[in-house]
């Protein structure tokens, strides 16, 4: 026997050190997340409304991760973890997807004392400076009572870090690492990595709109873009069994779930559309199928939008992408709309849309190969330049109203909440 072993406690300690390094670190020093506001910092008297909205969104998103205290001052929100075992990288990842934020960073909390700042920086920055070659120090002194001025802090701190990490050299123009020291009202903060935020405005600050979500690549991107401008999204989807499969609907639900990372909770409306599509096929000329179908979809969407207090509709259309998205076709579709229709992808190329869909991780879901309602009964030769009076005449040949009402009544609603 090579020495008696008492593994339980020690093991547990090492397992924490290895896997919850953050916890281990935070016992020595406190680490928090600083969130810098985006353009809402420029708002005037109503800035507070935006701030509150953002704080609420952030709190909701990080609540499942543990206990936090969020305070805001000087256009910055401080996320201060209260539990020991909180994974700050997860916090950063989640908060990085919240709109209204220009940048965020993990920072080490120091006393407002130069010695303490240096001491803590050595340890806090060891990992990152150990692998870098060049750096510079940046200082922000919003508390003018601090005895050293910003350039002084930069110089002194730079010198100290050079002493400590002799392999580094200073490069003020193009440094690998920028160490930032912020002297604020209550504490000083040191951080070295600024992470770009999602930008835009806090979701909910611009009201609510109804997104027509087909399951393709464009519509989730359109929803994301409007959410970025502070719009709270509700989604509507049309199903036509047996022409469309249950898998197609599940795919759209998956898209909704993905979008909640960015858009927060989403109310999802599923409209039974089979009868209407069959009626179009039976009573209207083939070349107008798609446009009349879209007009009916818009009609249903705005009725449900009204019930859910949505102020606008959102679609993923892009001019000229397909026959139903020519200017003439869009004009015919728009003619039935009584509320604004936002089409944020309107001037974008497919490649640009795909780029965003990859970024927001909806691309792989969107490209699953299930038929959606838009491709049912597609005319072989759709009218590229339809005239409104022709369309209206064709549509008036049958009374769609009872079927529309029935579809609206039978619409099912589901809510998708943010991931736990």
């Amino acid at each position: 026997m090579t020495g008696s072993q008492k593994p339980s406690e020690k093991d547990l300690k090492r397992y924490e050190d290895d896997f919850l390094t953050i916890k281990h670190r935070r016992m020595i020093m406190k680490e928090i997340v600083l969130v810098k506001y985006g353009e809402m910092a420029l708002k005037g008297l109503n800035k507070k409304t935006f701030e509150d909205m953002l704080t609420k969104n952030i709190k909701r998103r990080i609540k499942p991760l543990g206990h936090f205290v969020c305070t805001s001052a000087q256009s910055t929100l401080y996320i201060d973890p209260q539990d020991d075992d909180i994974d700050l990288s997860e916090v950063v990842e989640r908060v990085g997807k919240i709109f209204g934020i220009a940048a965020l960073c993990r920072a080490c909390v120091c006393e407002k004392d130069f010695e303490d700042i240096c001491e803590k920086s050595y340890e806090y920055l060891e990992d990152i400076l150990g692998c870098a070659k060049t750096f510079k120090v940046n200082a922000k002194r919003s508390d003018k009572a601090f005895p050293m001025k910003s350039p002084e802090i930069c110089m002194e701190m730079g010198g100290k870090l050079l002493d400590r990490f002799p392999h580094l050299s200073v490069d003020v123009k193009n440094p690998e690492i920028t160490v930032t020291v912020e002297i604020r009202d209550t504490n000083a903060y040191v951080h070295a990595e600024n992470i770009k935020g999602a930008g835009g405005l806090p979701v909910g600050s611009s009201g609510k709109a109804m997104l027509l979500l087909s399951g393709g690549i464009d519509s989730p991107v359109a929803g994301w873009m409007m959410a970025k401008r502070g719009v709270h999204i509700a989604a509507i989807h049309y199903v036509s069994p047996p022409y469309t499969s249950e898998r197609a609907q599940l795919k759209v639900e998956q898209l909704c779930e993905k979008l909640t990372d960015w858009c927060g909770g989403i109310a999802f409306y599923c409209v039974p559309f089979t009868e209407l599509q069959e009626a179009i096929k039976d009573h209207c000329p083939e070349e107008f199928f798609t446009i009349i179908m879209r007009r009916l979809m818009m009609e249903i969407a705005q009725r449900i939008a009204a019930k859910d207090n949505c102020l606008a509709l959102i679609t993923g259309e892009s001019v000229g992408q397909v026959a139903s998205q020519t200017m003439a076709a869009i004009a015919c579709t728009d003619a039935v709309c009584r509320i604004p229709v936002f089409r944020p992808c309107i001037g974008m190329d497919k490649t640009e849309i795909i780029e965003i869909s990859r970024k927001i991780d909806t691309f792989d879901i969107s490209t699953l190969p299930y038929e959606d309602c838009c491709t049912v009964f597609t005319p072989r030769h759709p009218k590229v330049r339809p005239r409104l009076e022709d369309i209206e005449k064709a549509q008036n040949s049958f009374d769609f109203e009872p079927l529309i009402q029935k579809a609206v009544e039978n619409t099912e609603m589901k809510t998708f909440d943010i991931a736990k």
């Binding site: 008696s4 072993q5 008492k6 593994p7 339980s8 547990l12 397992y15």
Partner: protein
């Protein structure tokens, strides 16, 4: 009642896993690829398991792929990355204490012209991140190391190594064989800096024949098995819905109790070591701070296989080295500085949280008896 102390070889499927498998074999027997309702139901069962396993390692469910087991996952990791990136970058760095499914696959790649670097523990029996980083260069496509060594329970410095490697060489793909750590230690792929991890169901009270490989989005892998493009083409072949559902059920059951069970097995390990501490000629091969689930000891001068069969006659099941190598002498122990006679007499006791003190008492008693009776 036999005493089963070979849980690192395999575990008894839990009731939830068996139930899920039976359900998938009796009621939900569709092919997930079929377009009809029966197919959809089967697909949903697979996706449910996928989600559970994904969240248990902090991953997105779209990055989880089912395979026939961790051996296949490990093969896919090495061969798949070599296939995708190995044209220009021919070097692969692994630890010298890997399971055969990594080590042998690496040797096969070596024969195909790849350069394999195996990092050994230093004198103190530990691996160091710096050694791995220094072995990497711009020609390296992959680094692979296990989380917990299956023979000794040694916990490898995976997180430190991968973080350091990624800082210096962001293009090197990192793979971790997490089989002996899954559901025993908390695993988060992002925190670990792992681009790929391998998991096995039957080590966590699931069923044999199913495993998982996590592949981070953006990492390209050339499939080893081609065919009907199941699992997004990464692993063709009809999904084994019963085994996958059982895997999910087992993971769902075990995930909430990782911390609790760790403490419990920690106490069991301490208890066992305490029982053995008075015994002359018994040496502990496991590191003090290793996984508490595995305790490797040597009974001096008594060959492991004979001791194993002696214990077997008392209905106590342990293992000599790693069960996968079917009694062959283990080179891994040698890597840890355990050689010759001591390695010849190594016995591995692997527990679960359900193991009891009484069982360990009986084991210790039998070991003492065996030590006296067994010669050579």
């Amino acid at each position: 009642m036999p005493i089963y102390l070979d849980n690192a070889a395999t575990t008894k499927p839990c009731a939830e896993a068996v139930e899920a498998a039976v359900e998938a074999m009796t009621a939900n027997y569709g092919n997930p690829s079929s377009l009809h309702k029966a197919g959809l139901e089967a697909q949903l069962a697979v996706d449910k398991a996928r989600k559970i396993i994904a969240s248990s390692v902090g991953a997105d469910s779209s990055c989880i792929y089912f395979t026939s087991g961790a051996t296949e996952s490990n093969n896919l990791a090495l061969r798949g990355i070599a296939g995708a990136y190995g044209k220009r970058r021919k070097k692969i760095v692994i630890s010298a204490v890997e399971h055969a499914s990594i080590d042998e696959t690496a040797s096969a790649l070596e024969n195909m012209g790849y350069e394999i670097v195996r990092i050994s523990p230093r004198e103190d029996g530990r691996l160091y991140a710096a050694d791995f980083v220094n072995a990497c260069d711009d020609n390296t496509c992959l680094i692979s190391m296990m989380l917990v060594n299956n023979e000794t329970g040694y916990i490898l410095p995976v997180k430190e190594t991968f973080t350091a490697v990624k800082r210096r060489y962001p293009d090197i793909v990192t793979h971790c064989d997490c089989v002996q750590g899954y559901m025993k230690l908390p695993i988060k792929v992002n925190q670990m800096c792992a681009d790929m991890i391998s998991l096995s169901a039957h080590k966590i009270h699931g069923v044999k024949g199913v495993g998982v490989i996590y592949i981070k989005k953006g990492v390209r892998v050339v499939p080893v098995v081609t065919g009907g493009k199941q699992e997004k083409g990464i692993r063709s072949g009809t999904e084994s819905v019963p085994l996958i559902a059982a895997f999910g059920a087992a993971a769902e059951k075990l995930f909430p109790t990782i911390g609790e069970r760790y403490e419990r097995t920690g106490a069991l390990k301490a208890y066992l070591l305490d029982r053995l501490s008075g015994m002359e000629g018994v040496a502990v091969n496991s590191p003090e701070d290793g996984s508490p689930y595995v305790v490797n000891i040597s009974a001096e001068g008594r060959r492991s296989e004979i001791m194993l069969h002696f214990l077997e006659s008392k209905e106590i099941y342990v293992s000599s080295g790693s069960a996968c190598s079917k009694g062959q002498q283990s080179g891994v122990l040698g890597q840890f500085g355990i050689r010759d006679k001591r390695a010849d007499s190594a016995i591995r006791i692997s527990m679960t949280a359900e193991t009891t003190e009484e069982e360990l008492d009986r084991f210790a008693e039998a070991l003492r008896e065996g030590f006296e009776k067994v010669r050579g």
